[in-house]
Symmetry: C3
Subunit: 483 residues, 3 copies
């Protein structure tokens, strides 16, 4: 049933966030101080700070000079990531033929609220772990915009697991709760374990996927309506059409193209260059691997679900090691394997999760973000155990900060593994808790259909409303070409 | 009726423009002189010129050195703006389900002719007001491409008010006439009043919207055919379908994502960095505000028209003050209010304009560009009145050139207000005059339908042509799923 | 018939490519050596090498200093090119209403395999002609990614000529064979003739188009099934719908917007700036010219095929001379003429090729890439004959390397012409040979239809499969609105 609950909750959230912005958020010093047009490099005394701001570092004299070009450096990457969040995820979600408005629009509001709220959850946990005073202002630069979009990505991955089965107010609450766990997990991994994950294989993808699956598990159990088992699988509205599948491919392609920017958005120098090369190679190999195995496993035909998703698995899997010296063939191998695993997931594993664990995964995020994210995390463990000072030189300390202070390769590898384990634990635990909260809210009356929460009578006429909600008859999904 | 009038007019316009290019347009000195590969910084003696070209300014010695990187600086922003013009506006216009070809294609030719013609209208009025000789060549750099796209944006906003109700030749004439007024207004504002408007809230958005509404008013009165009142409102072809609405959302999302680039395309340094941060925050808050109020004002359901448009209002409204020290919460507040006003416009005001003022606004540009543009202009007045030298330091003169030569904050605020008033006056006056001219040309026979000017028989078969043009029966628009 | 042949071939290709990557491909020295984070400028002693890496060259002392910014310079252009390859070509191909999955997905795998394989074909021929040892590693930088996408563009142009009439395994084989000829031709042109072609009018567009036409000629003769003549022309599935045509326009617009990045991706400094200005102007004039002549030649109506394609002809035609001092009006004239020629091609020439030469050109690549590519090549001949040292100064040797070693303007023009002739010869010869090989593989059973190679039963129900393959009755194509 249509309801103003979403509007009230959203309005409330905006008022609170507006107050939080007034109290805590200011421009970064370079942007807001009286110098205005000029930004200062001279104040940045460590090499990393200096280079990260786009200044020139003089190692002999330990001075930093020039004009910061952080915006020039980061902005093209930020915009690519932004396109992935809003068009990439947004259009990919439109594969459901009767849920196009909801898919793309809920994606939009989830990304917006995630960007706003993550400014505070990220800062909160970082300050807890680093002991910084809560009263300090949050200093905004373009990097805050990027980390805000990373947080949004994790929320949107979780959204993929529950799309069609949740009301907008449930999604809003889910995002607000998820980010608390997301930022906690990222802070533990980055600060406590000093585990690196430049492309977010663990912190973004694996976390989002397992969080979403845990929420879906809780939601699924809560709804023993209709004809019982495999509730969502047999819903006639849970299907795609030729048109909606081509729309979804627009999303796939934008994710595919801009994945190097996602993995490299916060890297610098040669490390960023390696991220780009490694990610392009890994995702190209995962795409080819997907085409090959989709054809082989599906009796000589391609399946659009595989092509829309598994082609991207190489971008997820190479995330943790994309800035490392894995050489192009290492990236190729990671991509090839990720594509294979992801196709296996879509062909065989999703059905098993649904049937035996009662976990329904609408968009198959377990296959695209879950398993490849874990593979990427394990790749990061292996890469950390192999990273030698003789290969990396002074860059070793830039990439693995802990190595500069005495941590051994083996210890770093152990820490990477711990971060992965904690990620899975917090994702599942947080997801179960969040799912429990979401069950307190009313569930949607027309799953996988726009009609419940959208003014669509005037557009599509009677056609859209004269069909029953759930037809539990055939096993094959039949979809009329509404879209 | 199909007609070759457009072809003849377009051909004529291209021949004249080709001659204008031969006579007046050359590469900028750096690009066309014998040094070729190298560009010179040393010739740029003022600080602004020097920094704007991407050179390094030595304030102590007043010298400029380095290699100009203006292309590197501007090109990513230019391409983002370009995507907004062609994909953003173009796809957003496809919301009309029977007018998809016209929507996206007329958008394309309007943007092309506007880019070409604006080179000359901009230069003409600037030289009139600055007293430069007409015989000087126009020196092209990437910045001319950007200002050409800004002019195109204003034309496309006006196009939104009259889409579906105009022939291609009327649109061509409208663009050619509008740009004369557009450039006149911008020259008065920038040169006479020295009013700043980095994102074009006034010069681009408000001007385009009120110009288009004035044209629509004139066109509407000219056609007392069919069943009389609310001619366009009851046209059965004036409606969307599920598919066309998802197409339109692609446009919305590209406008949403790249709005920071539009507002910041011609800013530099810290000012550009602030534009990016402020615009991202403002538009995210206007999106959330739109979702909340659409749900609240529409009895618990979202409306696709709100989501496609009002979500963007924050980008329009923050335009005039995006480079100023308004702090993130200032941007958030502007965005929140703009979203609210824009939703109110779509829910309540558009119908009143149509019923009582006989102004039919097909795409609702009054709600997205008109009112938020005025809000932005007023925001610029307030910001100018508050701008203190103690906050901005030396940057005050960079942002408000007049302040460097003795203008007070109050005078600057007054000038900003004058620029807004002149903008509204020239937009409405110019639009009425242009609408009068357009009435001399034949009106379309099949409003809101592609069939009149497109070869579509071979594609869509008989299906598209066996329905009467205007069905004045019900009050509810019913659209068959042609698209 | 569905078949696993594609999967087996694709898997085999990936295993071989993986081995090639292991044996031959490494990071470029700057990225993979022990300095890691820092990249070295000091090792780049020639001016071109130094500037190309984004370092600062001191001509007086012949030293190179600074930090290489090649990634910063090239990456935004690379991403624009990437969007053209995957979204631009990919969506443009979806104009066939029953072939949407195949169009966009085969485009994706062709681009991926082309990027992978071109690393080796490019290197192979370059080393043959330059006498470099085969055992040297291929050193990857972002520039290899760009040249890989250029190779993909040529394959996708050829794909346009045969789309709908080929199986996925035929396309895979075509790409692998085409790139051998593509790289051979480019090596002859660039190394032997030192013929410049910054935007690939000859090497990419003309080569791809005539190669594809030659393949199509061979394939066409091989299938005397059904009712004989004009086999593909009368196929009821070879048609578009309103929706598929709007999808295709998304591709057109992305190609249109990012063409300046394609032409300028490997240029630098002022030359790159001129490429951007010239390409924007040329393509805007070709768009207006297309709108005018489509209206004039089509009896007062626009035709979507013209608008989707001929609008882009200016980008192709200006390719060979985009970095030269042709002045904005030169670019405008080239664009205007290219648009005219391309519309003439779609209206008059395609039908003649099909009827009299038995060459069926599904997407009309002869009109968009073939003829405009030849026009561009001839423009390059004229520009080379006019290039004087007094206009270009020291840049002459940067643009025409041969001129720095004594070649005259006339000789350079002759070499440009030779490169064009060799391009046409190798394209046609290579295409005929490749077409001969493709005839050894089974042809598709359902041309222009997704059903043969895609799991679509569960999506679109019975609707898609109850129509015969080829209906040779009427002369007008009728398409049901599947998509």
């Amino acid at each position: 049933m249509a309801s103003r609950r979403f509007g009230v909750l959203a309005l409330l959230s905006q008022i609170i966030l507006l107050i939080l912005f007034v109290v805590w958020v200011r421009y970064d010093g370079d942007l807001g101080d009286s110098s205005g047009m000029d930004q200062s490099c001279a104040t940045r005394l460590t090499e990393i700070d200096c280079l990260a701001a786009g200044c020139t570092y003089n190692a002999a004299e330990s001075t930093c000079s020039g004009t910061p070009t952080i915006l020039d450096q980061r902005y093209p990457y930020y915009q690519d990531v932004h396109v992935m969040i809003f068009i990439g995820f947004g259009m990919l979600m439109t594969f459901l033929s009767r849920y196009g408005f909801s898919a793309v629009a809920y994606n939009m509001f989830l990304a917006c609220i995630a960007f706003q709220w993550a400014q505070f959850t990220n800062t909160f946990w970082h300050r807890i772990f680093e002991g910084e005073a809560a009263s300090h202002k949050i200093r905004m630069t373009v990097e805050n915009l990027i980390t805000g979009d990373f947080a949004a990505a994790s929320v949107l991955v979780a959204y993929g697991a529950v799309i069609g089965k949740t009301t907008p107010e449930q999604l809003l609450v889910m995002a607000l709760l998820q980010l608390i766990f997301y930022s906690l997990n990222e802070s533990i991994g980055v600060i406590e374990f000093q585990a690196v994950d430049v492309g977010g294989s663990m912190y973004v993808h694996a976390f989002g996927a397992y969080f979403g699956l845990a929420v879906s598990f809780m939601l699924g159990n809560s709804r023993p309506t209709a004809s019982g088992k495999q509730l969502h699988r047999n819903n006639s509205n849970n299907g795609s059409s030729s048109t909606s599948d081509v729309f979804a491919m627009i999303g796939t392609l934008f994710l595919f193209m801009f994945w190097p920017s996602f993995n490299g958005a916060l890297a610098s120098g040669s490390a960023q260059h390696r991220v780009v090369i490694n990610t392009v190679i890994a995702i190209a190999f995962s795409a080819m691997s997907t085409f090959a195995f989709s054809n082989l496993f599906r009796r000589g035909r391609f399946n659009m679900v595989d092509i829309q998703n598994a082609t991207l698995a190489g971008g997820v899997a190479v995330g943790s090691s994309a800035d490392l010296l894995i050489e192009p063939y290492g990236a190729a191998l990671i991509g090839f394997v990720a594509g294979l695993i992801s196709v296996v997931g879509y062909v065989y594993i999703s059905g098993l999760l649904d049937r035996y664990l009662r976990i329904h995964d609408t968009a198959g995020v377990h296959n695209l973000h879950g398993m490849p994210g874990v593979v990427g995390g394990l790749g990061g463990v292996i890469a950390a155990s192999l990273a030698k000072a003789s290969d990396y030189g002074s860059a070793l300390g830039e990439i693995y900060a802990a190595r500069a202070t005495g941590t051994t390769a083996g210890e770093q590898a152990g820490n990477q593994l711990l971060a992965l384990v904690v990620t899975l634990g917090l994702a599942i635990g947080g997801g179960l808790a969040t799912g429990f909260v979401l069950r307190l809210l009313p569930a949607p009356q027309s799953p996988f259909h726009d009609r419940e929460f959208w003014d669509i009578e005037e557009h599509a006429g009677a056609e859209a409303s004269d069909e029953p909600d759930t037809i539990p008859l055939g096993s094959v999904t039949k979809v009329s070409p509404l879209m």
